[in-house]
């Protein structure tokens, strides 16, 4: 009992999973966005720090270079050799930003910045007050070794990953917290059904047994109709009861797999529901060939019962319930109200009911899905509003 309860309630519903997934996706995106912004801010700060460290050195180079230009200016044009230094490359530009002479490897210059990184180089621009040789701007260029960048990326990856993991776990906890009220109400409903199921068994068995025992031949037509109605109602309750007991008790039982004659079982179950079908003036259409399946008879019966019961319940008056059977494939179709396309993915969720005009708890198709998943079978639902539904079962 406890095991069955845990199985039914601890697992997340599809809709619950979807909400959880949506929330987590949104949350993770937000976390990534925030981490990316922080990483970008950190990167920029570290870059500025590195440049400010470099600035002092480059300023010294520019100062030395300006002194050399001053000397060259005085001796120009007897001397024409541009001053060179192994520690850096340089260029001189006039006030109109026209190159006077350049030794730079990277020719793109940002005159509006004092120090910046471009390509694999760092540029430092010093503006002169005395324009030696017409020089307004001295550009000092050194190679950027990129070691600082590697260290920054390592830090970003390590701390970013840690923060991401932490926030993801926190988000998961938060999502579970938000979903808890919904989960609790499902648990409550589940427990209520389990408790009430037991109380249904005795009176239901008594009703069905007594109906079977009644001699309808000696009855008045009027009474026979009334008895039929009682029979239909009792069988509907009985199907529901079987579903509920299956959910609460039987699904944990050991499987007793055997080869089942599917054709015979379908005919038998169709006959069982015949009185229900007659009440809606439905007709059966059989197209059955011999087929077998190796599985637990109780479980396969639950699948067939639920599919037939739905095909009858959601049919129109004077409609048709059809059965097509070949080895490995069973199609049960109806000419009923149909299911909206966007609702189809949710019809196997427990307690999901799209039509409240018919009774039920919404557990039937959930049972069907559990069983076919257990036996690795395939189920496909094709439906058109007001035309009908076609359930295709493959094994």
């Amino acid at each position: 009992m406890l095991a069955s309860k845990n199985k039914a309630t601890n697992s997340l519903l599809k809709s619950e999973k979807k909400s959880l997934f949506r929330f987590l996706a949104l949350y993770v995106l937000m976390v990534i966005f925030i981490i990316a912004i922080l990483a970008s801010y950190y990167y920029q700060t570290q870059e500025k720090l590195m440049l400010s460290n470099q600035r002092a050195t480059l300023f010294k180079y520019a100062y030395v270079h300006a002194k050399r230009l001053k000397v060259l200016h005085h001796f120009f044009d007897e001397r024409r050799d541009y001053p060179r230094d192994p520690r850096f490359k340089s260029a001189i530009y006039d006030i109109d930003k026209k190159s006077i002479f350049s030794l730079l490897e990277e020719p793109r210059i940002h005159f509006d910045e004092e120090i910046y990184i471009i390509g694999n180089y760092i540029h430092f621009i010093k503006s002169l007050d005395d324009f030696y040789l017409g020089t307004k701007y001295i550009i000092i260029e050194v190679k950027d070794d990129g070691l600082w960048r590697e260290a920054i990326w390592k830090n970003i990856l390590a701390y970013g990953l840690l923060a991401f993991l932490f926030f993801s776990l926190f988000g998961y906890y938060l999502a579970k917290l938000f979903l808890k009220p919904m989960h609790d109400s499902i648990v409550l409903l589940d427990r209520f059904i389990k408790d009430t199921t037991h109380e249904l068994n005795t009176p239901l068995s008594a009703i069905l047994a007594n109906i079977e025992m009644m001699d309808t031949d000696v009855m008045l037509e009027k009474n026979r109709t009334k008895l039929n109605r009682i029979n239909i109602a009792a069988k509907t309750v009985s199907t529901l009861y079987k579903d509920l007991t299956y959910l609460t008790l039987e699904q944990e039982k050991e499987n007793e797999n055997e080869y089942i004659d599917v054709k015979e079982l379908i005919e038998d179950r169709a006959e069982y529901f015949a009185i229900l079908a007659q009440s809606k003036k439905l007709t059966y259409e059989f197209n059955l060939t011999e087929a077998t399946i190796f599985m637990d008879r109780r479980k396969f019966t639950r699948v067939i019962d639920n599919l037939i019961s739905n095909a009858i319940k959601y049919n129109k008056r004077k409609g048709v319930v059809g059965f097509t059977l070949v080895q490995g494939e069973l199609i049960i179709w109806d000419t009923g109200i149909g299911i909206k396309e966007n609702k189809i993915p949710f019809i196997f969720d427990r307690y999901i009911r799209f039509n409240h005009s018919e009774g039920g708890f919404g557990v039937g198709l959930s049972i069907v899905k559990n069983i076919i998943d257990e036996y690795h079978m395939d189920i496909k639902v094709i439906s058109q509003i007001d035309k009908g539904t076609r359930i295709i079962l493959k094994w």
């Binding site: 200016h73 120009f76 044009d77 109109d96 006077i100 040789l133 017409g134």
Partner: protein
Amino acid sequence: MVKKILIMIHLVSSIYAENAFERNCVSCHQKLPASLQEMFKRYLLIYSSESNVKAGIKHYLKYPSKDISRMSDLFIETYGIKKKTSLSDDELDDIVDSYWDKYKVFGKLK
């Protein structure tokens, strides 16, 4: 044919400008202790770019004054301020262009 004529006109005008520079500037400046090269560097030190240097020289030639001269006080006291030019704007432009081309730094450093 038209191309040849244009080239000829350009050559002739260049030679004329060169001659005008020699005639109007070099003839007097070669008597002074400060060379035209030195004076050019003084303009460069203040004005930096081609357009600024040319504008500065042209302005001084048209409106010579002690206040805006690039030369030292001692030089001015000794040799005085030059007379206001009598050349037209076009002639001045040609002469200043020749002066720039002769002493510019562009293309000379190595």
